[in-house]
């Protein structure tokens, strides 16, 4: 009896996870093996087509570019967020008047709805009248077609995503820095390790577990980003900002090719799961140490 009551505590959550995570994952696998289009919604028929949808995506001339863009977007965003985030975390480690207040206000970009960030940056990056081009124009730089040139758009999208991710990186890395015992720095200072040497030989090795968690979590979050790209470029111009998640969205909800969209989703899941495994290992190490 007692055992039954105890189990009742987890039943709602268990059911929810099964219906809203388990079912979608299974459904994506079956959908990707079916011809699942807008017609399916009228006729109820979704013929099995084997791996035809996967053949479609792997032979699509958008597959390789979207893989490459996903990789560039993820690596570029993470590298920028992490480098700037770490620098700011180290900076805010000092105590100075207002340091806590300033650091917590830094979180704001991360808390805004992503679509708000996209809208704001679209106005800032506008080629003709955006403030960024006005600003660089002061130094005699020609207006840059940030979001309208296929050569620049991906870089612009990455820069915006770096801006969004910095606060998260600062917060987690700052937390990691706080956990490094002050005595280590005092002992290091006696041996002459200050400044860069202190960072290299004390901060970095002790921060490593937190660093791996931040990086892997960053990858898992970044790889599936949709809002920012849809809001800024919609995957354009000339498909220059297509990623795996944009492809999946557009195949399913713009072309109503749910089978093809699901196939893209499954590629995305496999990539995410790979990083999830790395995350779990990194996290376990972080907890152990």
């Amino acid at each position: 009896m007692e055992k039954v009551t105890k189990i009742l505590f987890v039943v709602p959550a268990g059911l929810f996870l099964l219906l809203f995570f388990g079912y979608p994952v299974v459904k994506n696998v079956t959908m990707s093996l079916q011809e699942y289009t807008s017609r399916t919604f009228f006729t109820g028929e979704a013929p099995w087509v084997g791996f035809a949808n996967y053949v479609t995506i792997f032979t699509s001339n958008l597959f390789v570019p979207s893989m490459v863009n996903t990789a560039l977007f993820t690596v570029g965003s993470i590298a920028g967020q992490f480098a700037i985030g770490l620098a700011l975390a180290v900076f805010f480690k000092r105590r100075f008047p207002l340091s806590n207040f300033l650091r917590s206000m830094l979180l704001l970009p991360w808390l805004l709805p992503l679509i708000v960030a996209s809208a704001t940056w679209r106005s800032i990056l506008d080629q003709d009248s955006g403030v960024l081009n006005q600003f660089i124009g002061v130094f005699g730089v020609e207006p840059v077609p940030w979001l309208t040139s296929p050569g620049v758009a991906l870089i612009a999208v990455i820069l915006v995503n770096i801006w969004i991710g910095i606060p998260f990186n600062v917060t987690i890395l700052y937390g990691g820095l706080q956990d490094i015992p002050e005595e280590l720095y005092e002992a290091g200072a006696l041996d002459g390790a200050t400044g860069w040497a202190a960072f290299r030989y004390i901060t970095w090795p002790n921060l490593r577990p937190v660093v791996s968690v931040v990086l892997v979590l960053g990858v898992v979050y970044t790889i599936k980003v949709l809002d920012i790209i849809l809001g800024l470029t919609d995957g354009g111009p000339a498909n220059s900002t297509q990623t795996l998640s944009i492809r999946s969205y557009q195949e399913s909800f713009v072309s109503f090719e749910f089978g093809v969209g699901a196939a893209y989703s499954n590629v995305l899941i496999i990539v995410s799961l790979l990083f999830a495994l790395i995350y779990l290992r990194a996290n376990r190490r972080a907890v152990d140490e």
């Binding site: 000092r94 300033l102 206000m105 805004l112 992503l114």
Partner: protein, 292 residues
């Protein structure tokens, strides 16, 4: 450079004492405050720009002023006329998701923290992995299921979908805050005749107040910010969260930037207000969600 070369090789290298070395690096702390304000200003400039642009007279161009010298509220009038209902929809969906997520997550978190189930480790692993499943995967499947169930364009449909952002996170945060509750308190209540459920409601819930606030805040912010489910699970304008309203502004009438930016400001208010009044809960959630 020259001083190093001219130092005799056999001379003992002068070792500055610790206090001396600190003395050299003593920069007035006000300098750091100024630098910190500068970094914050650079990071928050886009948000300033959003507010500034929202106060410019409506027009097709962005080439407004750097400061809202003559603020115009025309953008806000348009925004509220066009998006007022959508803001309300977002608010209802967000509050609904908070209630639903906490109701589902809190008992589960308690069970995972206090009951000695053999499969706790496996359950936690499943929850961690569920957080990593891309939203588009869920949207693909839910669209077809919702279509059959008549849940498209409905508030309950959005609440259930948005709870996928909130529930795994809430379980992890709440479990962490419930781990430290001494089992003896609950045992005492049970000896007095309270059932597990009664003890949970009257003892565990009040003790876990901070965790509940953090989890609730994030459930609200996740849902308020949600764009993917708004985009895929609504097809008409009956039920339309404001994030989708902004997206449609961006597509159709990017001519009227002040209205777009006014809507953006209105959609940012919850985040700004919550960051100011509930700072420590937000920081706790940001860290707790990552390393637990």
């Amino acid at each position: 450079m020259t001083s190093i070369i001219s130092t005799p090789v056999d001379a003992p290298r002068p070792q500055p004492s610790l206090s001396e070395r600190r003395g050299v690096r003593k920069v007035p702390s006000a300098v750091f405050t100024v630098l910190g304000i500068f970094f914050l200003a650079v990071m928050l400039f886009p948000i300033y720009w959003m507010v500034n642009a929202s106060l410019q007279p409506s027009g097709n161009t962005l080439s407004g002023e750097w400061f809202p010298v003559n603020p115009s509220f025309a953008g806000y009038q348009t925004a509220i006329a066009d998006q007022g209902a959508n803001l309300l929809t977002s608010l209802i969906v967000s509050l609904g998701t908070v209630v639903f997520s906490l109701a589902v997550a809190a008992p589960a978190a308690y069970a995972l923290a206090q009951f000695r189930f053999r499969w706790v480790g496996a359950a936690l692993l499943a929850i961690l992995i569920s957080q990593m499943i891309p939203g588009i995967v869920i949207a693909n499947a839910l669209y077809t299921a919702y279509n059959d169930l008549g849940l498209l364009n409905s508030i309950p449909g959005l609440i259930l979908a948005d709870a996928t952002h909130a529930i795994p996170f809430a379980i992890l945060i709440l479990r962490a805050s419930m781990l430290s509750i001494p089992a003896s308190i609950i045992e005492a209540a049970r000896v007095d005749g309270a059932g597990f459920f009664r003890a949970f409601v009257s003892i565990v819930i009040p003790i876990s107040r901070n965790g509940l606030i953090t989890a609730g805040l994030f459930a609200f912010l996740f849902t308020w910010s949600d764009f993917l489910f708004a985009l895929t699970l609504t097809t008409t304008d009956e039920v339309r969260p404001v994030t989708l309203g902004i997206y449609q502004y961006l597509g159709s009438q990017v001519g009227n930037w002040s209205a777009v930016m006014a809507t953006a400001v209105l959609s940012s208010l919850p985040a700004i207000v919550l960051l100011v009044i509930a700072q420590r809960f937000i920081a706790a959630g940001a860290v707790g969600g990552a390393v637990k």
